[in-house]
Amino acid sequence: MPSEDRIAQALEAISDTKDFFVSSVAMSAEEVRGVLERERGVNENPQVRLAHELGPFAAGRIDLERLAPVIGVNETLGEETRRKIQSAFEALMDLKKAGDEIFTAKVPLDGYLRGTVFAALGRVGVAFGAARSVEWALHDIAPPEGVEDALERFPPNLWNRAERGCSPPIVIEVEGQDLRAASLGELLEGSQKIVLVVNGPAAPAPLVRLITPGVTVIQTDDPTQLSALAASPGPGVAALMPEGAAKFTHVPGEGKGLNERLNVEYLPEKEPKRALGAISAFQQVEELRQLASMTASVEAMATMEVESGSGAPPMDEAGQLASWLIHQANFTGV
């Protein structure tokens, strides 16, 4: 399937998160418009503005010279402040109009995956930068250190906790040989969703290192499986892999135990023998074995559950592991 189609599928899969972000940009643009509307510019004629706001029904009926001083468009903003807010407004409007393009990026051949993701998030993160700029302008605060032009780029290292909870999803096109997934770990915070559309030959289980209890990790060649990524509230990464790679989903919301969270649909038997670009064969084999051992423990836990009966109240992960170990050691009934 051509990669444009797969990108479209990836965007479709994260469309709820994307729409939420776009709506938030629109809402914020409207809020900033509200600020500009309430805070009259020093040189602005309030009557002219009121005439616009009230529309033709008021024309000839309402005396704007009398109304203007009454309904409080008196506050003024300095020219400089107003200009800054206006620029932030325009930045938000530009993002709103930009369409899907701001949610996608491509890693150049032999390029650095993390760098591309970081830059792409920095570009769409201008939404946060613009909102911050309004705050700074209104309260006459200088932008904190490390911020150059918040309306040009505002990368994830500058986002606060609340912003990371509302982070924009991103779809990244990458060649299999450049898919060094571990580098993405630090970006998987808040509600960050990353979808990787992987082209060409790829390692069999490159995302396995990202499996940690709170992160959704999906490796698949079936775009419909991406819905689990969109549905999870926390951070997550999914890769639309070429054929032959392992297929699994790790969804934190499914339960506390690894056996509940992890579902391995396909585990390749053949271990890779050749390096892919800078990714050594050894590393690829490591990843695959890690997934295999996880699969084994999940299966064991499942067996244990059937044996112990399903009516008992569910146990936490430690409890499950302990009873599994006891089971393995044949200590049951002691």
Partner: protein
């Protein structure tokens, strides 16, 4: 309406930590011994534990003793008209899904004058918490019969005793299409009250909690049996409901009830031989009105451009 968040709101660094006192407004002026006090404390504890931002939290009430509730919370409050807390809450949630909304109603408010709204709010299943503070009597207006007043109970409006059997708010709620969370608790067991409120708060949908409570002024003996005799109480326990492990020593009558079982829930609600507390029913898969109606937010410019296209259809 749209689902979106204000990026401006996020931009303000917020490292506040809220303590109980941050949610306390005026000193509550209910009668000493009134059950409303316990509910207020439990709710303030819930807000503290959940660290809800006071400015993003709204308490809506109608008219009655319990409807003074918002005045005692240091959050936003809407003390509206008799029986209409739910339409107001609906309007708030439709316009501002980002706010946490609690409706606090008395039995007159919810079960009598506002009964029509109650039934429909259950069906809308908007994500909010609705508390029915049920003391079986009108207190603010000094002892008139309410729909939940026990049969035979004398009052100022029915001095010969209430003519009819009381209405059962639980079985009514459980009978409404699209009910998604129904629980009952009592104000005199604070840990159960708190645990129930917490479950209600975390449920995605319209969480209806009936809280049985005493009115020391007009019906002081109402729940005396249940308070003094733990055997009158039966706990519905479940990991997806309230487990109430701390109460094992006091309340021996514990029934493991799976809250997805609506038939069992209805049987438990119907049977009045015990005061049965816990989560009767919960189902997060029920459609939520505000979710089904989400639409993308548009800017003014975009709206007008759509409107302009509309005018093309009417152009001559």
């Amino acid at each position: 309406m749209s689902s979106a968040c204000s990026l401006l709101h996020l931009a303000e660094a917020d490292d506040r930590e809220f303590k109980m006192g941050d949610y306390e407004a005026a000193v509550a002026r209910w009668c000493p011994g009134c059950g409303d006090h316990s509910v207020l404390t439990a709710v303030q504890r819930l807000l503290t534990e959940e660290q809800l931002k006071p400015e993003d939290t709204v308490f809506v009430s109608g008219i009655g003793c319990s409807s003074r509730f918002p005045h005692y919370m240091k959050t936003y409050g809407f003390h509206g008209t008799h029986g209409r807390a739910l339409p107001i809450s609906t309007g708030i949630k439709l316009n501002r899904p980002d706010l946490e909304v609690f409706a606090v109603m008395g039995d007159g408010d919810c079960v009598s004058i506002g009964a029509g709204h109650w039934v429909h709010a259950i069906r809308y299943n908007i994500d909010m918490v609705a508390l029915l503070l049920d003391n079986n009597i009108y207190g603010l207006t000094k002892m008139q019969t309410s729909p939940t007043t026990p049969q035979g109970q004398k009052s100022n409006t029915q001095p010969q005793g209430s003519w009819l059997p009381p209405m059962n708010p639980l079985s009514v709620t459980l009978g409404v299409t699209n009910a998604s969370f129904v629980a009952q608790t009592v104000e005199w067991v604070p840990s159960h009250l708190f645990a129930t409120l917490k479950e209600a708060f975390h449920h995605k949908g319209f969480s209806f909690v009936r809280i049985l409570q005493r009115c020391p002024a007009y019906l002081p003996k109402l729940f005396e049996d249940a308070i003094t005799d733990p055997e009158r109480i039966e706990l519905l326990v479940h990991p997806d409901g309230v487990e109430a492990k701390d109460l094992e020593g006091v309340y021996k009558d514990r029934v493991y009830h799976d809250p997805t079982d609506i038939d069992a829930a209805r049987r438990f609600a119907e049977d009045q031989s015990k005061v049965r507390i816990g989560v009767y029913f919960r189902d997060e898969s029920r459609p939520r009105y505000e979710e089904t109606r989400h639409l993308p937010t548009l800017t003014a410019e975009e709206k007008l451009s759509v409107l302009d296209q509309e005018f093309d259809r009417y152009a001559v």
